[in-house]
């Protein structure tokens, strides 16, 4: 398979072989990988689609947060601004749709290595999916298992600030993808630096106009009053 989109017959993706077999009302979805197999029976699905998925569901859902460690920290001057691109990991998900276009999550599997991190201290911190990314000034190409994030950094602090990590909340983050390609992205992010150790992350609008939004799995996105993330435990 060469990109996100509809799954038909048998396809190979990142070491996984997905097959959709059976005729009539019930079809069998099977994913095989080295040392394992995952099967589901689906009743009258209209179509199965491969989409990028928020990187917080594997091996179990234990957090909503993704923390990106910048491999090259950024130094922002007082009241300064910067626009960078970073990459975040995405899982691959198989969604099924019925004739009323209602959907359900059938399968999620990883492409990238999964690691978690504690942001803050054990008693007051939070667990986040860990990822390392080089900050880039030009929009990077994404491959399978990656999504591009545009980050606008604005400092309100009177002095230089070093930024070495960015915390994103998958409950507010929105994923978009271009069918037929491995291009995935999120909405634009604005990081407002309040002090050398704290920042607020705001979530903006979609950047890639031709991209389609990923349907959120049920329960992932509860209603929120404030659509922002506070980074309270350091920026380095």
């Amino acid at each position: 398979m060469t990109g996100y989109g509809e799954i038909r017959g048998t396809v190979s993706i990142a070491g996984n072989t997905i097959s959709v077999t059976g005729e009539g009302d019930v079809i069998k979805y099977r994913r095989e990988w080295r040392g394992g197999e995952y099967t589901r029976l689906l009743v009258r699905p209209r179509r199965l689609e491969l989409v990028p998925m928020y990187p917080v569901l594997l091996p179990k859902k234990i957090t909503n947060y993704v923390m990106v460690r910048l491999l090259e920290p950024i130094h922002i001057p007082s009241r300064g601004e910067a626009m960078i691109y970073i990459k975040i990991p995405v899982e691959l998900a198989v969604m099924t749709y019925d004739r009323y276009r209602r959907y359900d999550l059938v399968d999620v599997f990883p492409v990238m290595k999964i690691k978690y991190v504690l942001y803050g201290s054990p008693d007051r911190g939070l667990i986040a999916r860990y990822w390392e990314s080089v900050p880039m000034t030009d929009p990077p190409d994404t491959s399978i298992g990656e999504a591009r994030v545009l980050v606008n950094i604005r400092s309100r602090y009177d002095g230089w600030v070093e930024i070495g990590r960015i915390l994103l909340d998958s409950q507010i983050l929105k994923l978009y993808y271009v069918p037929g390609t491995w291009r995935a992205s999120t909405q634009a992010i604005t990081m407002v630096v309040n002090s050398p150790a704290t920042a607020t992350i705001y979530y903006g609008r979609k950047v890639e106009m031709e991209a389609r939004p990923v349907h959120d799995p049920p329960g992932l996105r509860p209603p929120r009053i404030l659509a922002r993330t506070e980074m309270l435990y350091g920026l380095r």
Partner: protein
């Protein structure tokens, strides 16, 4: 039918302590008013910081205490001698105090637990040696669903006095393992193998970073301590605990590093003579067979 005696009625009315009676009525009415107001006020203040049953019970107790004090004061203003009542009340109080000692202790422990909040329902805890999830915290006892599936009720006094470990209060917790390798092995190679296993495990946190070091030169092995941090949520730590030690063992064995058994070298002061039993048996057999052959030849 006895006629109504106006003289005696007038006498009774004249004998009544009207100012005292008026004072008693005022005290009773005032007492009820103050008690009702305080009950509402205390309930409204307490509901902000304490659970509803505690707020309700405390405000109700204060209401009854005020009404009781008002009643006693009213009787006093009527000139009724309450020494006997107080004496009887005191004796009953002492008896009740002894009888309800444990109940009172549990009640107050429950109140303190409500305020201190060392745990909430759903938390994974260890209380009085019982590990499990808190299912309910009442004014008298705490109920825990043990990890073995057994429900345990612990009186609040015992909970209050015991050491409480709450595994759900923190985002992450540390797990420790000891891995012993043979003395002839390279500990740094073992570090590398162990770190690779830790790096591959998704639930071993990147930060706080895992710690791997030689902790002890043991009797028969070099003991390497492995410290990792894992998410506290649910029973994830237990899954990591089960999974990780076996993976480390497998990786170490695959890397050709020996994990020794416990060995004891015994040294003797004097040299020992070692006899091989089979050899001796063979010699005896040979000797006996040669003797019988000799006898047979003699007979012939």
């Amino acid at each position: 039918m006895e006629e109504f005696n106006f003289t005696s009625a007038f006498y009774w009315i004249r004998e009544v302590n009207w100012p005292g009676l008026l004072m008693a009525v005022l005290i009773i009415v005032g007492g009820f008013l103050i008690a009702s107001l305080l009950r509402k006020l205390i309930y409204k203040l307490m509901i902000r910081v304490a659970p509803e049953p505690v707020s309700r019970n405390v405000s109700r107790a204060i209401y009854y205490i005020i009404v009781f004090v008002a009643g006693i004061s009213a009787l006093g203003s009527l000139g009724i001698n309450l020494t006997g009542v107080f004496l009887a009340g005191g004796i009953i109080g002492i008896i009740l105090g002894f009888a309800l000692q444990s109940i009172t202790a549990n009640l107050f422990s429950g109140l303190f637990l409500y305020w201190e909040k060392p745990f909430s329902p759903g938390d994974l805890v260890e209380v009085s040696g019982v590990q499990g999830w808190i299912t309910d915290v009442t004014i008298m006892s705490t109920r825990i669903l043990g990890l073995d599936g057994v429900k345990v009720r612990i009186p609040n006094q015992e909970v209050f006095q015991s050491r409480i470990k709450n595994y759900s209060m923190t985002a992450a917790r540390r797990l420790d393992f000891i891995v012993g390798i043979a003395y002839k092995e390279d500990a740094e190679k073992a570090y590398e193998v162990i770190r690779r296993v830790l790096d591959e495990h998704p639930l071993v946190l990147v930060h706080p970073a895992p710690d791997v070091f030689v902790e002890e030169l043991g009797d028969s092995s070099v003991n390497i301590r492995v410290r990792v941090w894992v998410p506290s949520k649910g029973m994830l730590w237990y899954e990591v605990y089960k999974d990780l030690l076996w993976k480390i063992k497998k990786a170490i064995t695959e890397a050709g590093i020996e994990i020794p058994f416990i060995q004891n070298d015994v040294w003797f002061r004097t040299p020992l003579e070692i006899r091989i039993k089979n050899e001796e048996d063979r010699r005896k057999k040979l000797q006996s067979s040669s003797r019988s052959t000799h006898r047979f030849e003699e007979q012939c």
